[in-house]
Structure formats: C-alpha cells, structure tokens
Symmetry: C3
Subunit: 324 residues, 3 copies
C-alpha cells in the first residue's frame, strides 16, 4: 500500500488529528496492526484490544479519546471513517480486460471490449454486457439480460432470462437471480397447478447481493430491488417484492412474495417477513423476528425473539405457555 | 400471444361470462392490464386495483361480482382459473433439441436425441437422460443417474451419483440433489466419525425443487420425494426423509433427517421440523413454526410464532418470560 | 462388499459377540437388511424395526440385548460402532488420478499429478493443489489458494482468493467459501459505504462443509474453522468468526460476524448466534434457538423455542403475550 500522512488522512475523513506528521502505510484491525497502521475503535467491548494495539494512529470518537494512549484522529463515526480510509488504500476493482475463448455467447449478444469474462461462462441471446463488467467463471446468464457498467458477478451465479442489473452492482457466488417464483393453485384432485412466472427481476444501481441468495422473478409484474440496497448471504426474496432504496438485509432472511419494504430499513439476520405486506421507511426489524402484519408507522424497531435460557428452565416455561 | 374470445376462455375454466364476444390476447395482473387483457380478482385487499384496472375481463368469484364494473367471468376459484388461462396463452416448455459439444459425457451414458443440453455440463458414467429433458448450463450430473422425460434442470444444479429424477420435474438454479447426509458418531476423543451415506435420492414425477435447495442422499436407505411435491427455494431436506404426494413446502424450511411427511401437507416458510418425526396427511404448519414432536391427527394447523411487538415492549415481555 | 466373520467385526468395534462364526457381507439399516447383513439398534423408538429385521447380526447396547431375538454384538455405542463397520466395508475415497483438459489453470499454479480434476473447473493463479485432492466439476477456485492433501470438492463449489483449506476436508456442492463479509458503514445521506473485506478464510484439517453453505472471508483478519469441525447444509458463517475444534453445526444455522465458538459445541439446526459473542466449550444450543449474549459457562444446554400448538390455541396465547 502507499504512504500517507496522518494529516492527509484526517482531511479525507473530516477528522481532527493529534499529530499531523505521522506516516501511515496500511489499515488494520486493532489486533493485527503494526507500527505504521491506522485502525479504529468504536465498540467499548474491545477496550483490551485498544490498550494492546500497536497501531500508530487510532480513529476514535471524541468521548472515547481518553481511553487512547497513543495518537488518534477524532471523528463522529469511526467505522464509517475507517471504511473511507480502507477504500483509499485499496485500488477500486481494477482488472485487465480479457474475454476467455472458453465461453458460450448467444446470438445478437453484445459484450463491451473492456470487460473481463472468465472461463466457462454461458451467456444467452440478445444480452447486453456493458462497459467494465467483471464476469468471473462458471456463470450462466440467460437471454435478453442487461448488466450495467462496472457490475461484478462472482463464480457460479445464475441470472435468468430478461433480468436487468444496474451499474456498480456486485453479485456473490452461487446466487440465483430471476428463478421462477413459487406460485401454484390447487386443483380439485389436490394437485398443484403452476402459475407461469413471466415477470422478471430489475436490480437498480449500487446493489450488492450475497452468496447463495435467491431473488425470484415476478409472476406477471417484476420483482424490483431499488438502488443502494445491500443483501447478505442466504437470503430469499419472493416474487413481486419491491425493496426500496438503501435498505439493508442481513443473512438468512426470508421475504415472502409481493411484500413492499420501504427505504432505509434494517432487517436483522434470519428475520422473516410474510407475503403481501407493506413495511414503511426506516423500520428496524430485529434478528430472528417474524413480521406477520404490515408496519405503517415509520422509524420503529420491532422484535419477536423467544429469550434463550438453560434448557431445564425452558422446559418449565414451555409447559406454562402450553397451558395458557 | 394468440387471440381468443371470452366465451372460449369461459369453457376452458368452467366459468360463466358476462359477454361472449370479447377478444382477449393476453393475461396480466390487475395493475398491468391493457384493454385486451384478462385478469383475476380473489383478494379483497386488492379492491383498489380492481377499481382501477384496464383489464377487459376479470375472473372473479360470484360473491365479489358486484365489485366489478366491467366484464367478468365467474368461477369458483379465480386463482386456479387464472393459472389455467395463463398456461393456455403460454406454449408449454417447447425448445429446439440440441446438444452442445462443450459438454462432458461419461462412459455408457445415454442421452435422448430430442433433449436440449447446453454448454459446460458434466454428465457422468452409466447415466440415462430420457426424452425431452432440458439441461441448461454449468450443471453437474453424477454416475448412474436417471432423469425422466420432460424434466428441466436450471443452471448450476448438482445431481449426485445414483439419483433418480422422475418425469416433468423442474429443478431450479444452484440446487444440490443427493449430497451426503449429515451423519457422524462421536469418538471417545471427541472427534466425529463419519457415517458413510450410501443411500440415494428418488424424486418421483411432477416434482418442483427451488433454487439453492438441498436434498440429502440417504445414509443407507433412500431419501424419497413423492409425486406432485412442490418445494420452494433455500429448503433443506435431511437424509432419509420421505415426503408424500402433493405436499407443498415454502422457502427457507428445514426438515431434519428421517422425518416422514404425509400427503397434501402445507409447510409455511422458514418452518422447521425435527428429525425422526411422523407428520400425518393434510397437516398445515404455519410459517416460522418449529415442530418438535410427531403429529398424528390429520387436518390440523399448528403454529408456534413469537408475536412481534415494538422493541421496548418486547424487552419487558422477555424479562417476564425469563422470570417464569 | 467383502466377507468377514462376526468375530473379526467384534474386534474392530471392541465388542462382544453372541456367535463368532457368522459370515457377514454387508451393512444396512434394520429395515433393509438381508440374511447376511449387520445392522445396529440404538433408538428404542425403532423397536418394531428390530423385531422385524432380517439382519443376521445386530450391534446393540448391553441394556437392550434382551430385545434382540437373533445374534448380536454388544458395544457401548452402537451408532459409533456401526460407523466403523460401514467404513470397513467401503473403500476410502479411492479414485484414479486424471486431469481433464477442459479446465482453466492460472499462472504459477501447481497441481499434484495424483489429483482428480474433472471438467470445467477454473483454478486461478499462484494456487497449490496438493496430493490426492479430488476436484469434481464446474468448480471455481481463486488466486493464491492452497488445498491440502486428500481434500475433496464437490460440484459448483466456489473458493475465493487466498483461502487455505487443510487436509482431508470435504466441501459439498454449491458451497461458497471466502466470499466478502457483510460490512457497510452508513453515510450521512443514508447510503452504505462498503468496508473492504481483505481478510481470508482458513479451514484446518478434517473439516466438512455442507452443500450451499457460505463462509465469509474476514474484513481484515481471517475467518477460521478449526480442525475437526463439521458443518451441515445451508449454514451461514459471518466474517471473522472463529469456530474451534470438533464443534458440530447442523443445517440452516446462521452465525453473525466476529463470534467465537469453543470446542466440542453442538449447534442445533436453524439456531442463530448473533455477532461479537463468545461461546464457551462444550455448549449445546437447541435447534431454532437464537443466542443473543455470550455464554461463558461451559457444559450447558440452552434453548429458546416457542412451543408449537394448535393454531386456535396459539391465537389466544399470542394475544396474552402481546398484552403483558
């Protein structure tokens, strides 16, 4: 990594530094820092790591600065500031354009020359791969797909027909985008009659989608993931969902079909949201919580976690709850 | 799509129409309909969509027909009727047979000439791919596998050795069929001794398996998914499970090993069923519910959801439950 | 399979047999046994299977031996003994070395000659594949990876840059190892600023990782899975987790970032563990239980399951809990 002074780093993160002339050449956790590292402290549970760190400079909040013996930069949000420092040190997603000859390219498909297309990718007909797209390996992309400038697909991703992916998106390994929604009507003989799923998936700009996550295509209209949404691993998004800007969804969440989630929501890991609900903006849902009704008031945190306890105690509680 | 009169559509869905001579050329949701669309109404929550729809004809229940200003077709189950209309307009899974030369085909493997086999598929030894099978791309199929007529495999699916898949099945992207069950016995030194998993998976006819779903092979005997079962995305089915006809399983469900589930059950999303249980026919399990004992009475709905509430209120409830 | 006498089998499993001269040529479940099978009995719920089995010899506990009419071998742990018998009958992971020419091999990458490398695998630069590694098909392995002797990767696995996998590991289909952790800091305009994830994943020896499981790379330091850990399907392990020796994790579990789990823990299916927690050794967590605090006392079982009940009864309970 490159050298930079603590003063210049302070300017990047809008901070106030204890000493302007320190040379920094890497960023690190408190634990793994060396004598030319910058690190950050924002969680008082890690106070021992702060005491023992070798980091030359620590990004820290004003109210914590007395806990720090060495040099510091004070900022309002150390974690956010650290993300900017880290992105400064790392070169942004640069790659040498190249297109592996071991690929399948369909008819009327257009791939920009400055893309990277690795080995064993299958790209269908009438598809557009825009500038600076990175397609790793063993990826399957259907017909009539468009992938926006600067987006990156990791290995073994599957993208169904007609899906549109915006700019600067990142889709991680083994994600399935645009598979059929789960729609069946029961016949008089108990058999399930499939409803054709002819909608698609539209993913706007700056969306991240985690490994092994599934986003179903719409039944008739589209499933839409709006700009700036971040989705973690192992998440299921049902058909015809609409997820609005900058909502963040942690791992193992399930969202059933036709649910609308507002802007800037925070959905905790393994939360579940039933179908056909409307969740307002700025809602926080705790991990493991099942939401069974629409949430119309904004700016509220909802929770439904059974508190854990020693198994013997739980046995008693469970029997009391059953008796109620 | 093709043109058809409202009278002919009524005959297909066994309905009664307000006007026999309307020409329809597409099906759609109420929201996205145009002046030659047929749509359906079955959920009173969508009353505004019904009022504002441009659809020329709406499939509707008798008791709702007064809510509809324009033309209609009355049926007993509008959702089921709509699925039949949709399937009428769409051509059923037709494809031009072709076998990509960029494939691996093992010894003594037999692939019917009217199949579609896309690029970068690996098919092992002694395997039979029957008529009209569609194998997309980047799929791995093991040795001694048989895939029945008319079945369709989406990209990046993995099918282990000895698995048998019936007719007209559909397996979505990144599903893993026939990976080892999770069986270990603990040694005196705390290490885990693997139990070989030498059973397989048998999937009967008309089964759908969702994206990123996993179906483990049996330890000794087989894991069996019976005809007409529909399984959504992100589901885990443990070794030696038996799931009987026409049971439907929503997303994110986990079913532990050796559990038997009866016919026509409905398992809600993210429900969990422990191992070695027997679930009778026609049982409904609510979303997010953990089933810890066998359910021997049929036709019952079971639930175990912690009700969600504002976080502050939950904190008080949690402390009361801990005190019990 | 090969023939062996009951006496020799008794020696392998340190048991006492009813009759030394019985010839056995296969192992099986009680239900599927034939007249030359050995099987085992350890769960009294399966008493009918024991009564009706055709197995020639049954491995059984001393206290259950009166339930068995035919021949037996008495051991302390029949399930463990059976795993040893099964492994005796099966040849251990033998394969004929071969390297398919339909692969991508990066620069300075070293693949031992006695490996099996199937079709359509992509292996990046500066990577080392050690002796007797089995790489199935449609697998993507990044740059600077090392895979230890005797490890086996199933189809469609993705292994990110810099990941190190130890000896005799097995990674099942569609698993994603070393994808980016989920780290974002929120900007003043509500947008999410990605924290670069520059740590990696280290997997030690004898680790099994299930199908469609995801193990995130660390943000700065590494995510570490210690020796002998067994992880089932559909599990999510967040960035910077540390999971210590011989811990076993059932399907659908989620573990948020930076959590440390001790040795010999048993995590039940669909359990969830929040981030930045420390779980001591020998802890048992029941299925479906969410752990929200560190667990410092060892050797305890924790549970948090809402008990299931008929839906009508649950409606009453839910309303009572909401009123509290």
């Amino acid at each position: 990594m490159k050298d930079i002074t603590s003063e210049k780093l302070s300017l990047i993160i809008d901070g106030k530094c204890s000493n302007k002339n320190i040379l920094i050449d890497n960023f690190s956790s408190l634990k793994s820092s060396n004598e030319s590292s910058i690190s950050f402290f924002s969680d008082r549970k890690l106070i021992d790591d702060l005491k023992n760190t070798k980091a030359k400079v620590v990004i820290i909040k004003k109210e914590d600065v007395d806990l720090r013996k060495g040099d510091w930069i004070i900022v309002a949000d150390p974690y956010l500031a650290f993300s900017k420092v880290a992105n400064f040190f790392l070169k942004k997603n640069t790659f040498k354009p190249s297109i592996d000859k071991n690929m399948h390219k369909g008819l009327n498909t257009n791939i920009s020359k400055d893309c990277y297309i690795g080995p064993f990718n299958s790209i269908g007909d009438n598809t557009i791969i825009n500038d600076k797209v990175f397609i790793s390996s063993n990826i399957s992309i259907g017909n009539n797909v468009e992938i926006g400038e600067g987006s990156k697909l990791h290995p073994n991703v599957s993208v169904g027909n007609d899906v549109i992916i915006g700019k600067n998106c990142e889709i991680f390994s083994n994600a399935s985008i645009g598979t059929d929604g789960f729609g069946y009507a029961q016949d008089s003989n108990e058999e399930w009659n499939k409803i054709p799923q002819i909608g698609s998936v539209i993913i706007r700009d700056n969306v991240d989608i985690g490994a092994n996550t599934t986003i179903d295509r719409g039944a008739i209209d589209n499933t839409i993931i709006n700009s700036g949404v971040k989705i973690d691993n192992q998440v299921q998004v049902g058909h015809n969902c609409y997820i609005d800007e900058n909502t963040i969804i942690a791992g193992c969440v399930g969202i059933a079909g036709s649910t609308r989630i507002g802007k800037n929501c925070k959905i905790g890991g393994a939360a579940m949201i039933l179908g056909h609900l409307i969740i307002n903006d700025n809602i926080t849902i705790s991990p493991g919580t099942m939401i069974t009704k629409s949430l119309s008031k904004p700016n509220i945190k909802y929770t439904a976690i059974m508190p854990f306890m020693e198994h013997k105690k739980w046995l008693k509680l469970a029997s009391k709850l059953r008796e109620k």
